[in-house]
Amino acid sequence: MAGKELTLEELRARIAGAGVTIAEPRLGMVRKLLADALVHVRALDSRTIKTVEPAVRFEASHE
């Protein structure tokens, strides 16, 4: 499992895994963007938060 910091090495691994190209001068920006967005997800104990169910809901009024 990845550590709580998004390192440049991890970012490069993610880029390679996704098969996309990100210009070298923009790696810092992308790292910051993603790291800021990931802070709370990475701090999360996934066992303590609700599920997102129901994924499907049937309501007569919406039929």
């Binding site: 996309v20 990931l38 997800v41 919406h62």
Partner: protein, 460 residues
């Protein structure tokens, strides 16, 4: 035409049409002249539809002569350039769609047209509603009429600039993380992000399916109410569209705020907010108390994790743009391209965890809204940013007070609540229960009528 006419309200304009004091053709011609004079410095319009505007205005005159009393008849408006317009190019602010001419109108475009508006043209948007245009972009960025060196906010940048400069009387916006409310805040105008599902997104370019909203922008709360009315209602072409009953938004403005409970979530929404904005906000709460509302502090614990909504936005934006990003990366603006690519780096587990956080925020917010009628917060953390700051590619995506209401889908209004010492507008944000647009409009209107902020004009 005097500034007074350019800035008159929709109700006043309609009344003057009906007494023949003004005609839609006169007003349209005068606004076209005003646009020709002011827009070269503002860059609010990406496409001006002068012939169409005059044709719409003549049709409105004919209808007025027949006694047609529709409130939006002959009202000059323009659309954010992510709303598809039949026969009129719709660029999305992007080189990728620079010459694209849709063959259908977006549902909201059609509904306003059926209400009798005059279409003045298309307003520049941040590229694909996400990326500010850097110098050298195919389309120049709109500028803030209050200070041309500052951004007008985005992504509905042209809508905010055009309204603040008195170029139109109403505009469409879209809001995925604050793109209606941010420009409203920075330009000193009013923007309504309706409940998710209340107004159709059919025919509007997608940024993020589960966060995208459409809505009106105007100079007063009442104008917003008039413009919202035709927007509301079920549209089978939008899978998220609701069949919930539609209220009478203008009628709701006649009610005062005595006895209403206003909750101020003290966690998250005040972190990093400039002192001048906090002061203007507290004065706004004092005004609402004087008007008879009860103001109390509330807490939404998981809101502190709200910034994780960016994972949802990035992943969904990448999913929508993936093919074009891979095949035509050169047609995306610098920085936006990499921002979009970042969505490819979000794992499925991270996207899912962000949705779980979202579900928890929705549940906690719904619980608080059982105790209070509306939530009030500052709309933005700072006044409008200088371009020099906004053009820093390292800026990232700062914490937002608006994203939480895209997460929750709640109806949310931004309206002026003061000015900074440097003369830039400050803004108050009001959010209500699902489908209670009337409530946020009612509270916003009561506050607006008790304060002078909506009457100030930039020196354009």
């Amino acid at each position: 035409m005097s500034d007074a006419i350019a800035y008159t309200t929709i109700r006043e304009l309609g009344a003057r049409y009906r007494t023949r004091e003004l005609s839609p053709v006169e007003v349209t011609q005068a606004l076209l002249a005003r646009i020709a004079k002011l827009d070269p410095a503002l860059h609010a319009f990406v496409t001006l539809t002068a012939d169409r505007a005059l044709s719409d205005a003549r049709a409105a005159e004919t209808a007025l002569a027949r006694g047609d009393a529709r409130p939006l008849l002959g009202i000059p408006i323009a659309h954010k350039d992510i709303y598809c317009t039949r026969g009129i190019r719709t660029t999305g602010g992007s080189a990728l769609l620079a010459d694209w001419v849709p063959d259908e109108d977006a549902t909201c475009v059609r509904r306003w047209q059926e209400a009798g508006v005059v279409l003045m043209g298309k307003l520049i948007t941040h590229e694909f509603a996400f990326g500010i245009q850097f110098p050298g972009h195919r389309f120049p960025a709109a500028r803030n009429p209050w200070n041309l060196d500052h951004v007008p906010g985005g992504s509905s940048s042209g809508s905010g600039a055009a309204l603040a400069a008195g170029l139109v009387h109403g505009a469409t916006g879209s809001d995925t993380g604050g793109s209606i409310r941010g420009p409203a805040a920075f330009c000193g105008i009013v923007g309504l992000k309706p409940t998710y599902g209340r107004s159709s997104r059919a025919g509007v370019l997608t940024l993020s399916w589960t966060l995208d909203h459409t809505g009106p922008m105007a100079r007063t709360v009442e104008d917003c109410a008039y413009l919202m009315q035709p927007f509301a209602g079920h549209d089978p072409a939008d899978p998220a569209s609701s069949r919930a009953p539609v209220g009478d938004y203008v009628a709701a403005l006649g009610c005062d705020v005595r006895g209403l409970k206003i909750g101020v979530p003290r966690n998250y929404f005040f972190d990093g907010v400039d002192a001048e904005i906090v002061q203007a906000f507290e004065e706004a709460m004092a005004t609402l108390k004087r008007l008879g509302a009860e103001v109390r502090d509330v807490r939404i614990p998981t809101m502190d994790a709200a910034h994780s909504f960016l994972l949802i936005l990035l992943a969904e934006a990448y999913a929508y743009h993936e093919r074009d990003l891979r095949e035509h990366p050169e047609l995306y603006g610098e920085v936006l391209r990499e921002r979009m690519m970042a969505g490819a780096l979000v794992t499925a587990a991270e996207y899912t965890q962000a949705q779980r956080i979202r579900a928890q925020i929705c549940a906690e917010t719904a619980g608080v809204l059982r105790e209070v009628d509306v939530l009030a917060t500052p709309t933005t953390l700072k006044p409008a940013t200088p371009f020099a700051v906004a053009h820093d590619p390292e800026l990232g995506f700062p914490k937002s007070n608006m994203g939480p209401f895209n997460i929750t889908g709640l109806p949310t209004l931004a309206l002026p609540c003061g000015f900074s010492p440097t003369g830039l507008p400050l803004s108050l944000q009001l959010a209500g229960r699902p489908f209670e647009e009337e409530m946020v409009l009612r509270v916003g209107h009561a506050y607006e009528q008790a304060t002078p902020w909506h009457t100030r004009r930039p020196a354009v």
